[in-house]
Subunit: 419 residues, 2 copies
């Protein structure tokens, strides 16, 4: 017997039929003798409808009222799932953020959890009652409803798992685990049995949308074991959590030292969400970087990769950097407006690029991962536009046309292809 937290996102509870399937997933774990808390999101599409109404009412709206409106959607799901569970003979009740309570700060719309008092919930779990908890929401010190920003339900789930001292937090999603790369691009992509928190963090921040970045950080800090499983599998086809053969389906996100056979590289991620801006013939004098990136920071535009070359005559430099594609036009305007102050000859931009990343904690102890990568891509005639590295990651920028070729090449190169 163990205590587990199960989390189901919007597509998993999109309608009553899907909610009934979720109830069967929960019933399977209860039948295995587990104490279960379930975190649910809004039914798919409902949050968008509510957000649209707040915008229709006023473009600039009070974040506290926005939270009041939007949090109502999770409330609906909890009630319906509790009913669905009772209908198949599983004792259950719904809990809203303010009822638990899940205490957050007062940053409405992007609230962070401060404390969860798990005492009452644990009592109920011990009595055999399933707790169905609204994800994404909490209560501020003022007593008002807060929400944690889109995707916050993963974070709720991990935080509740930590508060309940749960043995595991199972995130049910529309994929059955974390893959070595996108299976739509590489047919030979393998599902990973295990992945470390650090690697998962890099994957998450690089657009592998399996888990929300913040939830992985939280899991890492509190040593909460997270399992990614499929909510679309027939509930009775999955083995209950922590049983001998449960590993057949799912990826466990855990501490590095719990992964016995660590690969040098665990996965290849790619992101088309970046745009490239190159400033030609920037005067190469002190403070130029500040003059370029200061205005961007003031406009809340995140700059990711930065490359600077000195040009032939030594007086000028070319500068290339990337911004989120959604901010591309805004970034162009900001830079153009500062042209006189920066002093550059020409701005060239492109959204037709991709960032490809090789991720693996094994890089820490293995030299030459990057060199091997550059050589393999050169062999295929792929030009690298920019490079950044971290302790467990090498990212490169290339022309988007080469995305598939580069991902497949690297996937083979590091021995990730499945047999």
């Amino acid at each position: 017997m163990a205590r587990i937290v199960m989390k189901f996102g919007g597509t998993s509870v999109a309608n009553v039929e899907r909610i009934k399937t979720v109830a069967r997933h929960v019933a399977r774990e209860v039948a295995a003798g587990h104490e279960v808390a379930v975190i649910v999101s809004a039914m798919a599409g409902k949050t968008n409808e509510l957000v649209a109404w707040t915008r229709e009412t006023a473009v600039l709206h009070d974040a506290r009222e926005y939270d009041t409106v939007v949090a109502s959607a999770e409330q609906v799901t909890t009630g319906l799932l509790a009913i669905a569970l009772q209908e198949i003979g599983v004792s259950a009740r719904s809990w809203q953020g303010w009822q638990v309570p899940i205490e957050t700060d007062d940053a409405h719309g992007t609230a962070r959890i401060r404390a969860i008092d798990g005492k009452v919930l644990i009592e109920r779990l011990k009595e055999g009652q399933v707790a169905v908890i609204s994800g994404f929401q909490g209560v501020a010190p003022s007593g008002r409803i807060t929400t944690m920003g889109r995707g916050g339900s993963d974070t709720s789930a991990v935080a509740v798992a930590a508060a309940l001292h749960a043995d595991r937090c199972d995130i049910y999603t529309d994929v059955d685990g974390v893959y070595t790369t996108d299976p739509r691009i590489v047919a030979k992509a393998r599902r990973l049995d295990r992945i470390s928190y650090e690697e998962m963090l890099e994957m998450a921040s690089l657009g592998a949308k399996v888990l929300q970045t913040r939830s992985v950080e939280l899991a890492m800090n509190h040593h909460v074991k997270v399992m990614v499983r499929s909510s679309f599998a027939e509930p009775e086809s999955l083995a209950p959590a922590l049983s001998a053969n449960e590993g057949r389906i799912g990826t466990l996100v855990c501490d590095e030292d719990e992964i016995v056979e660590q690969q040098i590289v665990s996965g290849i991620a790619y992101s088309k969400d970046e745009a490239k801006i190159t400033l030609l013939k920037v005067e190469d004098k002190p403070g130029v970087a500040a003059r370029v990136f200061g205005p961007l920071a003031e406009s809340n535009i995140n700059v990711d990769m930065i490359v600077q070359n000195v040009s032939d005559d030594g007086r000028y430099t070319d500068m290339t950097f990337t911004v989120p594609v959604a901010d591309y036009e805004r970034a162009e305007k900001v830079i153009s407006a500062a042209k006189a102050d920066i002093g550059y000859k020409e701005l060239r931009g492109s959204t037709n690029i991709v960032k490809i990343s090789v991720i693996g904690v094994g890089m820490r102890s293995h030299a030459g991962v990057a060199a091997k990568m550059f050589r393999a891509l050169a062999d295929k005639g792929i030009n690298i536009l920019a490079i950044t590295t971290s302790e467990i990651k090498v990212s490169i920028l290339i022309d988007a046309a080469y995305t598939e070729l580069a991902v497949r090449t690297l996937h083979s190169l590091y021995g990730l292809d499945k047999n």
Copy 2:
């Protein structure tokens, strides 16, 4: 300066456009210097959608979870209206039942208000902030969300008005007041400037759907003055509450002694929601009424009018009574099942009837109101099937085909036609 409560139902807040109109109604009262609390229902159709989901999930569902699901709809309206008010420069915040708190008993789905602590709300009102409160919902002693049954928002409004010691409770609806009778039947129907609680209660229980019965009882008990006004009028076309000329539109429901020129009859109501059952040749012996009405009461069927005639030979009696048309088939079955025990020859039923009621507190001091009524209907050849009377009401049952003729005849008879 006064303190007023304004209540807007589902059709008044059906979409964002309508909610913005409601905000203008509120702004008008704030501009007049009033402290304002607003009670809102769910956007029209939303409650039905949520109820349908609970039924789709399980036919017999936990009333506590039903309440959790359904109460979410009012929450959305409060947030949107608060945003709409802020957008036009009116300070406002939303309040859910548990935040006020509006304490109810634990009869989920049909909860009754036990106490409202108005202290915090009054503080905020005094600071000039409009309180936008979810109608229809409260919080049980267990801390769970309760709802008060369909139409409960009127009751919420009156209860909040009592708790806030409000000078008036204005119920905005899709009509501009209470009429002497249904204007769709009698073109000469007049809007009443004032009506007494007692008369309004009779009107409400007879199917004039302007106010919910319970809300009128509550208003009467707490001496809350209630004004029925139109939410569909241009907000700026209405005079603010309690101003000299506000009476132009709306009907005030108040104590009898606040109505100076009391008419003998205030209104004519009719209800097609009744069905008639006649039992022919019931043996006329002690206890027969108990044998007929006992089984109906056990089946939760409300019997309204009862008429009993002794037949020619004195051994048998004919018995006629009415039940809600929705319970008609069930009532027939209950009586048929008890046929041997009751001992009657034949059951004849009809749904093709109407109950017409003449209402007025003036009847208390004026004799002959009923006699005048019977004579006028007889002159038109209308046969009366049953009669019941109360202190301020005479109700008759007639063939539904004569509905319009009877209502028009009585409307003229008691001088209610407008000039």
